[in-house]
């Protein structure tokens, strides 16, 4: 069975969330829970590192969209800091690179938060 793995790493006031593996519909709640826990404790600047994410469907994208909306309302953001080829293909094809703040690496996304 394929799973998604989620690990958090704080960097100052920014939280880096690494999402790796395979995120089909059944695995989406893991990401929702991880992001909701951070937002609940007041973290509104999050970098999503998707370099190790092999697969995402519309359910996963929907979960990310909802949380980006939520933190943007509080003046924060969730930036994409790195992506796999498959994830980029989906983000680009369906217009998400225009609305997600998307960078090729986590370092670049962190810099944008710190600028």
């Amino acid at each position: 069975m394929k799973h998604v793995e989620i690990t958090n790493q704080p960097k100052g006031k920014i939280e880096i969330v690494k999402v790796a593996g395979f995120m089909d519909m059944a695995e989406v709640p893991k990401l929702e829970q991880a992001l909701d826990a951070l937002i609940k404790e007041g973290t509104i600047r999050i970098v999503l590192d998707l370099t190790g994410l092999e697969y995402v469907s519309s359910a996963g994208l929907g979960a990310i969209i909802g949380r980006i909306r939520e933190v943007r309302r509080s003046g924060g953001d969730i930036k994409i800091g790195g992506y796999s080829e498959m994830v980029y293909n989906i983000l680009e094809t369906f217009g998400f690179t225009q609305v997600f703040d998307t960078y090729t690496s986590r370092e670049e996304a962190i810099q944008k938060f710190e600028a």
Partner: protein
């Protein structure tokens, strides 16, 4: 044509996709095409699991027909009539705040697959999709 029938439950999603991927093996698709195929099928199957049988238990029949250059997949359910081709395409140029999450999965499926057709026959929704090798 290899055929399999599954109870329309989320716990069977992985087995359904595995059956389709097995059917795709002959065509030797590249990794990206396989991921796209997986995505399109997940979107269709999740939709049936979530909405086709609101008041009863039901099943999903999958027929895979691997050709020389193309994989044809037929997904059949006996749930409420649902014609995916009638779902309006979401506007992917809207700002995030104005985007509606509804319809994205079906739109993805339609954009990924080379051919999609739908018929309603004897109380069954029959969705036929085809994906060919990338040139």
């Amino acid at each position: 044509m290899p055929k399999a029938v599954f109870p329309a439950e989320m716990k069977n999603l992985e087995s359904m996709i595995a059956f389709i991927r097995e059917g795709a093996e002959k065509l030797d698709f590249d990794k990206m095409t396989l991921s796209q195929l997986h995505l399109a099928c997940e979107e269709v199957l999740v939709n049936i699991i979530n909405y086709a049988y609101p008041d009863k238990e039901g099943s999903i029949e999958i027929n895979c027909k691997p050709g020389q250059e193309q994989l044809r997949i037929e997904i059949v359910d006996s749930g409420i009539p649902f014609r995916p081709l009638d779902i309006p395409e979401p506007d992917i140029n809207l700002p995030l705040e104005e985007r509606s999450p509804g319809g994205l999965g079906i739109f993805m499926m339609r954009k990924i697959m080379d051919q999609v057709s739908y018929t309603r026959d004897q109380g069954r929704n029959i969705l036929t999709m085809a994906k060919g090798k990338q040139p």
